[in-house]
Symmetry: C2
Subunit: 420 residues, 2 copies
């Protein structure tokens, strides 16, 4: 068994937390903009220091590779992303990159023998908060193996032409070229040059912490349905129009949100999660009855039949009027549950056992680059606990010990996979 | 009895509907910006044509006056506003201005004797949609007679310095000076130079139409309470955080909106109206549980005790948690019910009767310049029907016949008041 180094890990956490620091303990690090470029340069500098070979592909994905003992062997890769949501934390994504760096640094420091080349990767623009869509770079290199509905979302031209939310005329392509990380297409990860992929990540939920476990052996990423529910009413003056003749679109939306909670909760699936996170309202002034409101709803679970049941409940909203308003339901996005490669999951579990960690099997409710890469290569993930289950916020936190333990599990799991 | 002229009224409606026309049947005419300046110039041109004397005061209010037979008598004034809400209709406000023009035009055309000078007025910036606050110009000239809570809202410096919502560095004062309608303070309407005020307006509700009446003899403007209800939750990842530990601020707001509807409806006051018209949500993205949501609620009714009862229901929201979120309720604005001057209401009723109109007594749920001027002068209002009760939207419509009838009622009511 090999152990990664908590001191090195702590230094990395401190260093990367500076890139895009908000001053409130978190970071804002949009893909390919200044703070992200600084994080990428730090990665390249550290990996060059230990003698890794650096390559960029045409999506700006960065590969840092240590050669293995067998010159014919394909690479075993690890990685995650350095970009964040606005006012996000210091762990979502970047911890997976730091863990991959730590694995390679430990391999060099301890002179650990391995047959396959080992590669640490930064995937470009996982969050998709500045340039849509999310997961666009891992999807581009996996494109020909993706299911049709995912291919429809990841049209290469659209990805390259996507404009920044914050600098309207700046495209993803231009930002990529400006960043200095625009590399060659032949450097892409492929089935010919890579064998397995591992991604370590924070859980982003409270399950490990609540159970008192330090390691999550992830077995799947939940499938998801994303829908949009809208209501069309009539704008009238708030002071002059009698209550019983109103068509109040915001009241309709409020009723529907409450109704969905009741109906979906009745199903009684403990791990099912659903969220109405976004709402719009027009004209949205205090003295007009709203004529339009819509909200997002997304639902995530392992069993596709349950997801379809929930979809039906949402679609049935359109069968009646709500507060006098017509209701429309639109399907926005769906993805099916992805199960990780069984032999890689077994490598992770064995490593967690041998390191004497408190571990458990766990699903991922969030999407990750690994879930896209799983169409290209056998893939798996390792989770470490999130304090209070908080993520996508500045309070996001994981102890140095757990971060290091996660990296150690990944290192030992990779060494097992190296022999398969 | 004298009758106004439907042909002249129709021409005015067509002419004013061009200023700020959206192309969809309505107008966007922000106070003191281009379209409003065009409407004001049209008013001045028409009133000069009939020999009225034109004056502007230092709030840009425009006065067009026909002298009366008694050189000592104070003016009897009529008026409303030419500005509109964004994508508003062709009647809210401007109909009161057109009716005042029509009254003066009829007086001249028919050579109607009158003792008091008669004045048609445009009040500047009634809507307050571009420069806050609403009713700021009528409030400025009535300031010393306003109740303290209204005085607090209408600080002259704040009104002048208010910045445009659409041109950030443009202040109300600058727009006023640029408009060419910045006049002298000594031109303001005062108790020394004016006796009574009349305002004709569309009902902005469906009561007259539903009852089959053409004239509303308005007896009061409803009092109002405006509050803001906010919820503080916790942003967590939509895919990873179990349902039973969430603090979902948007779900909390939805529950509270539904609860308020239930509780206020239980009170059973037929004419009471309340509206939750505005909502905000943070971070407002589909894959985050919202950590903040707030909404406006305003309630209007004649009886102040009932308004206080509703206020208590709203405030009581803060006594418990909603969907795990803390709730805060803030009072934003209040105004008490204003009853019109009884002898002027009687003049309007007599005129409506003598003209053989179908009329009824009615309250105003909306605020109007008249309600502010009522602190300065004896004041009353006349309503004409709104098709479908629609207002603050492009569908706003009143027949030429009803518009003309309303002007005729105002003319004859003024001639009665002229003798008192």
């Amino acid at each position: 068994m090999y152990l990664c180094d908590p001191k090195r890990m702590e230094t990395k956490i401190k260093t990367f937390s500076q890139f895009g620091a908000t001053g409130n303990g978190g970071i804002t690090r949009h893909a390919l903009l200044d703070a992200d470029i600084a994080a990428r340069r730090e990665f390249v500098k550290c990996m060059e220091t230990i003698g890794a070979k650096i390559e960029y592909d045409d999506m700006g994905n960065i590969y840092a590779t240590l050669a293995g003992s067998n010159p014919e062997a394909k690479r075993i890769v690890m990685g995650s992303h350095t970009d964040s949501v606005p006012n996000g934390g210091n762990y979502d994504g970047v911890l997976g990159v730091m863990a991959a760096m730590e694995v390679l640094e430990t391999v060099v420091a301890e002179n650990i023998p391995h047959e396959h080349p080992l590669t640490a990767i930064i995937w470009t623009n996982e969050e998709g908060t500045c340039f849509k869509p999310t997961l666009g770079s891992s999807a581009t290199i996996s494109y020909e193996y993706l299911p049709k509905d995912l291919q429809a979302i990841y049209q290469h031209d659209d990805i390259m032409k996507a404009e920044s939310l914050f600098h309207p005329s700046l495209t993803f392509e231009q930002a990529l070229k400006d960043s200095g990380f625009y590399g060659k297409r032949e450097n892409r990860l492929t089935r010919d040059n890579a064998k397995y992929m591992f991604e370590m990540h924070i859980e982003q939920g409270p399950i490990l912490e609540t159970a008192g476990n330090n390691i999550g052996v992830v077995n799947c990423v939940f499938g998801m349905r994303s829908l949009r529910v809208s209501f069309e009413g009539q704008t009238v003056h708030a002071g002059t129009f009698p209550m019983n003749h109103r068509k109040d679109a915001l009241y309709a939306a409020a009723q529907a949100i409450c109704y969905l909670h009741e109906e979906i909760d009745k199903l009684g699936y403990k791990d099912l999660v659903y969220t109405t996170g976004e709402i719009t309202c027009k004209p949205c002034v205090h003295n007009c009855v709203p004529n339009f409101a819509d909200f997002s709803i997304e639902v995530r679970y392992s069993d596709g039949e349950v997801l379809e049941h929930v979809e039906k409940i949402v679609h049935a909203l359109a069968d009646k009027k709500w507060a006098g308003c017509k209701c429309k339901v639109v399907d926005c996005w769906r993805r099916e549950t992805v199960y990780w490669d069984e032999k890689l999951v077994a490598c992770v579990e064995e490593a967690a056992k041998e390191l004497d960690t408190k571990y458990q099997f766990i699903h991922s409710g969030a999407g990750h680059d690994a879930q896209i890469i799983s169409y290209l290569l056998p893939t798996t993930m390792i989770f470490v606990p999130s304090k209070g289950g908080l993520s996508h916020c500045e309070e996001e936190w994981t102890s140095v010990e757990d971060c290091t333990l996660g990296a150690s599990v990944m290192l030992n799991a990779i060494l097992k996979a190296d022999k398969k």
